[in-house]
Amino acid sequence: MQEPFQLEQMEKETKEMLKLRYLTKENCTFQRTPGGFVSLTVGDEHYDRIQVFCTFPFTDRYRCVSIRESTEKAKEIGIIQDLNQDLDAETVAMIQEQISLRYFTPVITKIKSVKEEYGFAYFDVETDHGPCRFAIHMSGSAVVHLSETRVLFLDLDENRFEIPDLTALSTKEQKKISVFL
């Protein structure tokens, strides 16, 4: 049976949602779990597993990293304001691992070939996650410009591939993808 309805409780929860709790090496301890995740102890609270959300995944990945419960609601436990400053090196590595697990956006390092066929373009590329082939729609929003020189390709399965700096590609590679830019 549930507790009787309490307005104060609801108001308290609403207020709690507005609070910003910063997590630093002084007030919390992160630990690796045997299953490949991370647990957290903050004050007298302990979380067997936490999730790491980047609040600015494109502009500043390690700034204001939101640490959340691993439940479906993913309630926020706290925020790491500056990952590289606020935690020790080992914890930083731990959190970075979790970030690269959660956010999978291979960076294209080399464009081997791009073939167009009936409305689709087939890419054969090298990425920082190994060689890969993917296909995109020629029409529509398969290419997202994050800035003048930074683009994302969205493939048919909704995977993302990033080119962080178009100017770093060779002229030949740039020509191969010029039609999409």
Binding site: F5, F37, L101
Partner: protein, 737 residues
């Protein structure tokens, strides 16, 4: 979506799966645990064990009996399969995959969970693959890859069968194409004779000149006439076939289950009806009407040229591949350039639309200048590309025409030499040059042909993909036609729109005829799903629904639906008159019956006050009704069918107090003596319900009368108290206003 890949033998060996164990599921994955792209990596599940092989080596193995739970987690652009072992606490990540396999693993997790409960029902995924697992090509929204598994011969044969009703049109178009090529080839022949036998013979006369002019005029007139009829019959053929296909598709989509339609984006089906059938029409008009004409013209021209000089013909043919290659290269380049231009134009248009529709926001934040600067930059980029393309077109097109015509210049030069040496007459030279021009002419068009054929075949395959789909809900072999009394039973009903994601689980409910059931619960808990099942729009995954003790599947669909009345929150009225909207439910209803229904629904008065009464046109181009008015029309529509089972889904939500009162009284009249299922967020509207059910976490969490549930102090009590508190909070503000 395949969940039973053939496991390569070396993987099976590496996993150590005994020969005696049957593989229940086997799926590949494409990322190592460290996130590196991989091949040769599989998950296999037997009735007893879960195996994972990464890069060809066994990575993880566990008996299903040692697992507490398994789940597929969606991360950002990738996913993981996690297990919870009985011997250790916490979740363990065992497989990582890209979005390509996300759905597959979600289904697999559901399958493993069933096996853990010793339920050996195989989970089947009806979702389509996005790319062909064999060749890697993108699938054009079809189940099988047209290149690898599709049977193009069969598609063509089926299309030919479909065209059988158009034999006459086919025959006429073919005949016209033959005639067109004959008249085209006759021109140079007549010219040759005129030059050699009249102009150059030395004894030509005025009559012969007049004869030539008349013959040429007749040929020209014939050409125009033939072209007119060819176009007319091609259009007739294309429009007729595409009309037939469109009608077939529309009919099929109407009878297919809702799940089929919801699995696809609405635009996708619209495209199949409009764009793919349009593609067939265009092909019949533009390509089919010309194919034979150009082939016959090409062959005829070569034969005539050969007759005049085989040596020169060979020289001309040598240039053909060069001209063809030039044409292809040119087309690719142009396509690339103009694709970029169109893309920029699209960007411009969407930026413009964005700002125009958000003008109030732009103005209220005083950002007009910033926005116009942004747009100026975009439009500048477009102008730059456009200028470049225009310059390219203007400078390179004449050059290309010159290069494409190289063969002709060469032939003219060689032919000229032969004419000077009297090996060829002037007339023959002219005829040869005209024929060579005819041969080079259609080259550009011909290079488009393979693309047009493939596009047409792809469209056909997308169309047959829908036509071949079998509706999941069909009439029983021996359907039941009877008047429903209104007893409804849900027995252990389980359902999910995606079979791996349950929305309702183990629903047990028995409703007496005439009883009113109020359905309560938070958003997304499955209230609307429950009534979708009751409306028989979907098939239950588990359990059964009985209407008067007979399984819902046994009723004839039309008979069952005619006895159900539905009033939804978002009332849909067709772009038609009020009269026709009311008659949609029962076309044979008399005027008196319609007025009586409208009166019961408190709709008669406002309808009468409109200038055109019941003949008022509503919808996009007609009279704009308020939410309450639309709702009352929907209620009248439901009353008209005299339903035995009534479904009200948030029928009084988002209405003002007066409308709500009018609708509530109308609804009270409507629900009298009918089995009613009503969903409402505003709990006060359910005060007349005989019983209330609370749906939470896929189950019926609470059931009983208002008083019983209030005493239970459970979810319903919480909801009522929360709404009361909200009203108390609102009231002082209302009074202050």
């Amino acid at each position: 979506m395949n969940l039973q890949y053939a496991l390569p033998s070396h993987i099976r060996t590496a996993m150590g799966i005994p020969e005696s164990e049957e593989i229940w599921y086997a799926v590949p994955f494409d990322l190592t645990n460290q996130g590196v792209f991989t091949q040769n990596s599989y998950v296999a599940v037997t009735k007893k064990t879960l195996y994972v092989a990464e890069e060809g080596n066994l990575f993880y193995r566990i008996a299903l009996s040692d697992l507490r739970d398994v789940r597929c987690e969606t991360l950002v652009n990738n996913g993981i399969l996690c297990v919870e072992e009985k011997k250790t606490d916490g979740w363990k990540k065992i497989v990582r995959f890209s979005m390509k396999h996300l759905s597959r693993f979600a289904f697999l997790a559901k399958g493993i969970r069933l096996l853990m409960k010793e339920n050996f029902r195989r989970v089947i995924s009806v979702e389509y693959e996005k790319t062909c697992p064999i060749c890697g090509r993108a699938l054009p929204g079809t189940r099988v890859c047209p290149h690898c598994e599709g049977n193009r011969h069969l598609t063509i044969a089926r299309f030919a069968h479909l065209c059988q009703g158009y034999k006459k049109q086919f025959l006429i178009v073919t005949l016209m194409m033959g005639l067109a090529s004959v008249t085209a080839l006759a021109g140079p022949e007549v010219q040759k004779r005129f030059i050699d036998e009249t102009l150059r013979s030395g004894h030509g006369n005025l009559t012969q000149v007049a004869e030539f002019v008349i013959v040429m005029a007749i040929l020209t007139a014939l050409t125009i006439l033939i072209r007119y009829y060819r176009n007319l019959w091609s259009a007739n053929l294309g429009a007729g076939i595409s009309k037939d296909v469109r009608a077939m598709l529309y009919h099929k989509i109407q009878i297919l289950s809702l799940s089929f339609i919801q699995e696809r984006r609405p635009g996708d089906l619209m495209n199949r009806i409009n764009r793919d059938t349009g593609m067939i029409r265009r092909f019949m008009e533009e390509a089919f009407g010309n194919i034979f004409y150009y082939i016959m013209l090409l062959c005829g021209a070569v034969i005539m040229m050969w007759r005049i000089s085989w040596k020169l013909t060979l020289v001309s043919v040598v240039f053909l591949p060069l001209a063809l290659a030039l044409s292809v290269a040119w087309r690719k380049n142009i396509h690339r350039r103009f694709h970029m231009q169109y893309q920029k134009l699209d960007e411009n248009n969407s930026a413009l639309q964005d700002v125009l529709s958000g003008m109030r926001v732009v103005k209220s934040f005083g950002k007009e200048w910033d926005e116009s600067q942004k747009f100026q930059k975009k439009t500048g980029e477009f102008a730059e590309i456009q200028e470049k393309n225009e310059v390219f077109w203007a400078s390179f097109y004449p050059l290309l025409t010159f290069l494409m015509g190289m063969g002709i210049y060469f032939v003219t030069w060689l032919g000229g030499l032969e004419t000077l040496q009297s090996k060829m007459t002037v007339g023959e030279l002219m005829q040869f040059i005209t024929c060579a021009t005819m041969m080079y002419g259609p080259l550009g068009w011909m290079t488009h042909l393979p693309r047009m054929i493939v596009q047409m075949l792809t469209s056909l395959e997308r169309i047959y993909d829908v036509l071949d789909e079998q509706p999941k809900i069909q009439d029983d072999k021996d359907p039941v036609d009877r008047v429903i009394e209104g007893k409804v039973e849900f027995k252990k009903v389980g359902f999910g729109y995606k079979s791996y994601l349950p929305v309702l689980d183990e629903i047990n409910l028995s409703v007496k005829p005439g009883e009113m059931i109020g359905i309560v619960g938070a958003s997304g808990t499955g209230k609307s799903t429950l009534i979708n099942l009751l409306m028989h729009l979907y098939e239950v995954d588990e359990g059964e629904i009985l209407i008067d003790g007979i399984n819902i599947n046994r009723y004839r669909l039309s008979c069952y639906h005619s006895q159900i009345g539905v009033v939804l929150q978002e009332t849909f009225l067709f772009s038609d008159t009020i009269l026709n909207n009311l008659r949609f439910a029962r076309p044979e209803a008399s005027e008196e019956e319609i007025i009586r229904a409208a009166k019961m629904a408190n709709a008669h008065d406002f309808i009468c006050k409109m200038p055109n009464g019941y003949n008022t046109y509503v919808g996009e181009r007609g009279y704009n009704l308020s939410g309450g008015e639309r709702q009352r029309i929907a209620i009248a529509r439901a009353i008209l069918t005299n339903p035995r089972i009534l479904i009200l889904d948030e029928a009084t939500a988002s209405l003002d107090t007066e409308s709500e009162f009018l609708i509530q009284t109308a609804l009270n009249r409507l629900t009298e003596g009918r089995t009613t299922f009503a969903i409402a967020h505003r709990l006060s509207t359910l005060k007349d319900a005989d019983r209330l059910i609370v749906i939470d976490e896929h189950h019926i969490a609470e059931m009983g009368s208002h008083e019983q549930l209030m005493q239970q102090k459970g979810i319903y009590y919480q909801l009522v108290m929360a709404q009361l508190q909200m009203q108390n909070l609102e009231r002082p503000q209302e009074m202050a206003q």
